[in-house]
């Protein structure tokens, strides 16, 4: 009676897609392998944001901070301590989630824009510390030449690692979204007042969602270090926060995979248009204006609406 989470053909197509992506490095030049890796990392980051923005209705305006915290945690553990590598890989998302909950604890007391404003201020504070604390974080120079374990020594190996971790993370995010936790989160997005009236502790639930979302942002941070072997304060800068926000908007807030598409579009624009002009954001801006006018549900949202069976969700409007 009730639809299963995924249909068998859905799994098939997903697996096929995954296999194709796994095979790509054998054909593509290094540069494209790197760009694809960057798209995966950014996709995961945008997806983690969309859990909070699109499905949670939270004004998570400074999400990049948690991505940066994840990346810096891994970098610092690998460079400054002699702890085993896996400790760093594990500690990074946990640190990101701790920062998420720490900042979120203050933010969930406010709503909507005020939530966003406070997060921008507290997040910028973290950025400022990273930016100025030369002795510890390397300041605006960042940290470069971060040593990676042997199984990640080549670009192709890093690519496979990033692809697998991203795929697993997306599956987990999907399961979370379809879980009672996820549907309650979406209910809060639609109507927090009503949610409280059915016995949901709205603020606590939002805080838990932030913990989950920032955890995955931390994973994205780890993957960035795997790809780049360096970290710099731009990872926590508000400009990046804005960019991933736009990716969610571009792909479609209310779809699951929309942000992946948004990330792919943005990263490609930056790479291929950015080669010719430093004003590539101009094109992004124009694209965004067109989008808001013509595809308010995002690119992915537009296509899912297109293929939705007609009649299922329309009808009887205005009967009363």
């Amino acid at each position: 009676m009730f639809k299963k989470l995924v249909s068998a053909p859905g799994i098939g197509i997903g697996l096929l897609f995954f296999v194709v992506l796994l095979a790509l490095p054998s054909f593509l030049p290094r540069f494209f392998v790197y760009i694809l890796g960057l798209i995966y990392v950014t996709s995961l980051l945008a997806m983690s944001l969309n859990l909070l923005v699109g499905h949670g209705g939270l004004f998570q305006f400074h999400h990049a901070v948690f991505y940066g915290v994840g990346a810096y945690t891994l970098a610092l553990i690998l460079v400054k301590t002699s702890l085993p590598t896996w400790v760093g890989f594990l500690a990074a998302p946990i640190a990101a989630a701790l920062f998420g909950v720490g900042i979120g604890w203050f933010c969930v007391r406010l709503t909507q824009l005020y939530f966003g404003m406070l997060q921008i201020s507290l997040g910028s504070l973290v950025w400022a510390i990273v930016y100025r604390w030369y002795k510890f974080t390397g300041g605006d120079d960042g940290i470069h030449g971060i040593p990676m374990p042997g199984f990640l020594s080549t670009l192709n190996q890093s690519y496979y690692f990033i692809l697998v971790v991203m795929a697993v993370s997306l599956v987990l995010l999907y399961l979370i979204l379809k879980s009672p936790f996820g549907s309650t989160l979406q209910a809060i997005r639609d109507n927090p007042q009503r949610c409280a009236a059915v016995g949901v502790n709205v603020k606590r639930h939002q805080l838990r969602a932030i913990a989950v979302g920032t955890f995955f942002a931390g994973i994205a941070g780890v993957l960035f270090v795997v790809l780049e072997r360096s970290v710099f304060p731009d990872l926590l800068f508000w400009v990046l926060s804005l960019e991933i926000f736009i990716m969610c908007l571009l792909g479609g807030w209310f779809t699951f995979a929309g942000p992946v598409l948004g990330a792919a579009i943005t990263v490609s624009l930056r790479t291929f248009v950015g080669k010719y002009t430093e004003y590539w954001t101009l094109i992004l801006g124009v694209l965004l204006i067109l989008l808001i006018f013509f595809l308010p549900e995002g690119v992915m949202g537009y296509f899912t609406n297109l293929f939705k069976p007609k009649g299922k969700e329309t009808g009887e409007r205005g009967k009363a």
Binding site: F2, L175, K178, P180, D190, A197, H205, A320
Partner: protein, 244 residues
């Protein structure tokens, strides 16, 4: 079961609710009536914790609930529907009710199990009892206004409340829908042993189904009594009924 004593709520200088009194006994159907702006909805919001009272006492099953947040009051056993349709617009009918059922079962935080497999039987039972079965896969935004009002009640039932507060359950409905909704409310009260507190503009409905009626005027309680006595009361007639 519910005892409201001398409750006051001001918005700046405006006394929205002024020394309101209300008693609801277990198993009763109690109506609150009064002209627009009399403070009925504000009173309901005070009871369910969506607003905090400035003074006074709100006792539910003998305990003071006036300082509790809405979700705790809900878990104590007070469910409500809203005057203006207040549902989860992007979710399906089924999911709307399921959110409430999951919340009551304490499963809202379950992370790695598909929601589609949890609380299914109970959610379907509720949808069946209000007549929304067959529409459970529809997104709520596409339902008719009447169905959305019914869904309001269905969501509230998901919490298995002992006291159900309905804020103008038939507002904006056609006469046939109104009749069906009243039948539904009476039937729910009977089969589930619900205590119901509601407000309504249609005096025929109010006087035909209520055991007890509380009359509000400019935030004050004029009186609470049985329908016959309310009808005879001269003060009520000048303040309200006579005005029609």
């Amino acid at each position: 079961m519910l005892q409201v004593e001398g409750v006051v709520k001001c918005f700046d200088d405006f006394m929205a609710v002024n020394e309101a009194r209300l008693t609801v006994q277990k198993g009763e159907i109690v109506a609150v009536i009064g002209p627009n702006g009399a403070g009925k909805t504000t009173l309901f919001n005070l009871i369910t914790g969506h607003l905090r009272r400035d003074r006074g006492q709100i006792l539910f099953k003998g305990e003071d609930i006036s300082q509790l947040p809405p979700h705790v009051i809900c878990r104590r056993g007070i469910g409500r529907s809203f005057q203006i349709v207040n549902v989860f617009h992007r979710l399906t009918v089924f999911e709307n009710v399921q959110v409430a059922v999951l919340s009551r079962q304490g499963k809202s935080d379950t992370l790695f199990r598909p929601a589609g497999s949890l609380a299914v039987a109970e959610t379907r039972r509720i949808l069946e009892s209000v007549g929304l079965i067959g529409k459970e896969r529809r997104v709520v935004g596409s339902l008719s206004h009447g169905d959305q009002k019914i869904l309001e009640i269905a969501i509230a039932l998901g919490n298995e409340p002992e006291l159900l507060i309905l804020d103008e359950p038939t507002a904006g409905m056609s006469p046939e829908e109104t009749f069906a909704t009243i039948e539904l409310i009476l039937q729910l009260a009977r089969t589930r042993g619900l205590t119901i507190l509601f407000c309504e503009h249609d005096m025929d409905i109010v006087f035909s189904i209520s055991r007890s009626i509380m009359v509000m005027h400019q935030g004050r309680t004029l009186l609470q009594a049985e329908p016959e006595e309310v009808r005879r009361n001269p003060e009520v007639q000048t303040a309200y009924l006579g005005g029609e």
